[in-house]
């Protein structure tokens, strides 16, 4: 980025000069894994209460795919439904550095845009990688500032990332990309008041951002002018949505095309809070080693102090979460289901399961001790120590979060997660092979983009 160049001009220049052939394998693999993960999550949530509501509200028929539905919807409707369902269970990908969920904005946006505009796989592959990269880098710039101002980073930064991705896929010229980003800045939205009452707007943000981004890109392509200084201007995106920091735009524009942040995307192995995941790993290993839950007298976990107020306290409430959603943020509950069921997927976070006396009895035995040397927040570790009735102690430790950069999930593990999600929704479990092959085909960048056949295969 030269001294006189605006931030969006620097991005636009890079996007326009990048071709699908330039994408390194690591970026393709991260995007392919994200497609696989995202589609499984969308299908899993179609028949939930919020999935039903968003499907009724966005019912206009059309040629765009909602993964797992037999019939198409209008472009914006498909993006909205895919995004809302994908993010609905908080089980989608995340990014260590800033919690932006890129898959559930970028994949729905690129799917709907590709189908509405007739884009091919090479275009979509480029669009997904560019969109994820811009979104992750914006997360690095924003740090905690967007949350601090009361806005949802996935929503605000997702609109920008997805707009960049759709512009990339459309093959826009730099001037068009600058307008696209400028227009997208005026569509970025999403407040975090859902924290007050668990309302569903957090889920909606991913889909709303996806459909807004396509509109922004279509307007930018036509020459509808957006401000050139949308990121750094006095009244720009960061001064409005992240006023507490001096943004370092170098984190967004430096080494574009050489360093790929999105290649380090993190997938969640379990359908719950990120920091609980290493603890579940410990519980699952103990379960697999043959520990009988009935023989457990006490359970103790060493924890980082910073995780206590959200995931452990008030302890009495955390041991008896009242809803599936609050159970996702209770380490005692998560450890208990890990010990009992050897997993913590969608099936472990249902209304029925949060009232299961076996789970609640075990969760009631879980305690924590603060380890002042714990690395949190630089690293997420896990520890579970069981004292059995006969006095023996069994202990497991997890040195980092599985699914993150230190210990990525393998393709097999992602496929297993996807299969479990399909099964949870009563869809054919073997659909995972078709999803995985679809993701690979798209990211290989060969041929036409064809999602409808996959969707029919996944619909019951």
């Amino acid at each position: 980025m030269s001294e006189t160049q605006t931030v969006s001009a620097a991005l636009a220049e890079w996007i326009a000069a990048t071709s699908a052939a330039d994408l390194p394998d690591a970026a393709r693999e991260a995007a392919s894994g994200t497609i696989l993960d995202t589609i499984g999550l969308i299908v899993a949530a179609l028949d939930t209460d919020y999935g039903g509501a968003v499907r009724r509200a966005f019912a206009d028929p059309g040629g765009a795919t909602v993964y797992g539905l037999g019939e198409g919807r209008a472009m914006g409707a498909a993006a909205m439904i895919n995004g809302t369902c994908g993010h609905g269970e908080d089980f989608d990908n995340t990014f260590e550095g800033c919690p932006v969920h890129s898959g559930v904005v970028i994949v729905p946006a690129l799917t709907a845009a590709a189908e509405a505009l007739g884009l091919d796989n090479a275009a979509v592959a480029k669009g997904i990688v560019v969109g994820m990269e811009v979104m992750c880098r914006l997360g690095l710039v924003a740090k905690k500032a967007v949350h601090q101002a009361g806005f949802h980073p996935t929503a605000i930064l997702g609109t920008m990332g997805a707009a960049a991705g759709v512009a990339a896929a459309m093959g826009q010229r730099p001037a068009q990309i600058r307008d696209t980003l400028g227009v997208a800045g005026s569509m970025a939205s999403g407040i975090i008041e859902y924290l007050a009452d668990g309302s569903w707007t957090k889920r909606m943000h991913a889909g709303w951002s996806a459909q807004a981004a396509i509109r922004a890109a279509m307007m930018g392509a036509q020459g509808f002018s957006g401000p050139a200084t949308v990121f750094e201007g006095t009244h720009g995106l960061f001064s409005a949505f992240g006023p507490s920091i001096e943004p370092e735009f170098e984190l967004l524009t430096r080494d574009l095309g050489r360093r790929w942040e999105m290649a380090a995307i993190a997938y969640k192995p379990y359908a719950c809070g990120t920091m609980t995941q290493p603890y579940i790993d410990c519980a699952v290993r103990l379960a697999r080693s043959g520990v009988d839950p009935a023989s457990i007298a006490e359970i103790s976990c060493e924890v980082g102090e910073g995780t206590v107020h959200r995931l452990w306290e008030p302890l009495a409430e955390k041991r008896r979460p009242t809803t599936p959603y609050s159970a996702k943020f209770s380490t005692p509950y998560c450890v208990a289901v890990g010990l009992l069921f050897g997993d913590a997927g969608l099936a472990e976070f249902t209304e029925e399961r949060v009232r299961d006396p076996r789970v609640l009895a075990l969760a009631g035995k879980v305690n924590y001790v603060i380890d002042p040397d714990n690395e949190y927040p630089a690293n997420y570790t896990g520890h579970v120590a069981l004292t059995l009735r006969d006095g023996t102690v069994r202990e497991e430790r997890q040195a980092s979060m599985r699914g993150g950069a230190r210990e990525p999930l393998s393709r097999d593990e992602l496929e297993a997660k996807c299969a479990a999600n399909l099964a949870f929704a009563g869809r054919p479990r073997d659909g995972v092979g078709a999803i995985s092959a679809f993701a690979e085909t798209v990211m290989a960048g060969q041929g036409a983009f064809e999602a409808a056949a996959l969707s029919r295969r996944l619909s019951v």
């Binding site: 009724r56 509200a57 966005f58 407040i191 859902y194 007050a196 201007g233 009244h235």
Partner: protein, 461 residues
Amino acid sequence: MQSGDAERALSVSQRFCAFLSALDAASIPISAREAAIRDLVDMSGLCVAARRESYVRQIAEAWDAEGPCTAIGQPRALDTAGAAVVNGVATHGEDFDDTLEGAPIRVGAMVIPAVLAVAERFGLSGERSLVGIAAGLEAVCRLNRVAPGHMHRAGFHPVGVIGALGSAAGVGTALGLDRDRLAMALGIASSMASGILEYLTDGAWTKRLHPGWAAQSGLRAALMARAGFFGPLTALEGHHGLYRSFAPTGTPDFSQLTERLGEDWQMRKIAFKPYACGTMIHPYIDCMIELGREGVDARRIKSVVCETGEGLVHRLWEPLGDKHRPPSGYAAKFSMPFCMAVGFFDGDAGLAQFTDARARDETVLELARRISYVIDPQNEYPANYTGHVRLEMTDGTVIERRRAHMRGGAREPLSRDDIVAKFHANVAHGGWERARGEALLEFCETLGEALDLSGLARFRG
């Protein structure tokens, strides 16, 4: 629980929506109904005026979904969101649409396009549409008075932010949502509310986009709430609510949403603009038009210094060098010096005065360069918009003119005849025959009697 306690236990949006959801044609006073119709007339004329502008055509032609809804003056029939966006952008595109004094915001451009689109799509009656329009206009006026000025300060455009909620309120009321569904629609719309002010830097078109985008956001929010999507009930006053996020420097006054509902219809005070440019500029233009008509010789004007309220300096006066030479006809609308100069020469500041060619007119620019300002700390802005010019002539004589308020506002409202005259001028600017304009005017003025809005389709193309 006592009923007083029950009342207090409700969230702000539930209390406001209890009022909206109970509205019907009989509970809206004639004066409010007339205000709604005046705004509809003004908005329709503006849509025709802007129908050939590229920023309108681009959206109308590139929109991906056709449907049963009308974008006034455009040939394509669009889906609800498309019609709402196009009508919203067209209404506000030339900055000639309604406004509010005291707490500046546009009102009709976000509400009316959304209600019309939904009414057309779902077969609502004209009466139900009118109830929705009145409700949405009232919602914008009141939501905007909760923390006036503070959204701008945080870098947001109230048209976009509050507009999304106003549209949701209008559409939700028209559809007959109950109190809690309507409150959830406002909660959902709060998560769709958007619009940053960065267009101020380079005159980008995003300002034009905001009312249309808000209109379609609000109607989506209302339809989601109707479908049972769960939105936060505390979206207005909550710890992470709309005003905390978008107006963090303000102390919100939520009594604006709970006091004298149904007694004091604030939308009756909507102001209509006589000139196609920034509202606060109007009284200054009136001063200059008067001097032009008196035959003051431009060549003899050495300097023009205007007393001005501090709050309008950053948008309408500074950076002064740029304001002296606006880069486009659109940017010229927000240049105090340009508007004053062109008013002086032309005796008007209508759509014809803000073409790109006119923005390059050296005669106008030469006078504009001699116009500057001094801040008057006593100025009443934003409670009242005043005008003042002090001309120093080359021979040393001084001429001063003042305007005590804005024409078109509550202190000197435009009459129905004024609004109809503006409507016909706008329709002519858009290239329609007068007879077609008369038909559209009649449609608007008799909306309350229409069984449905199928008649709107006559005004495509």
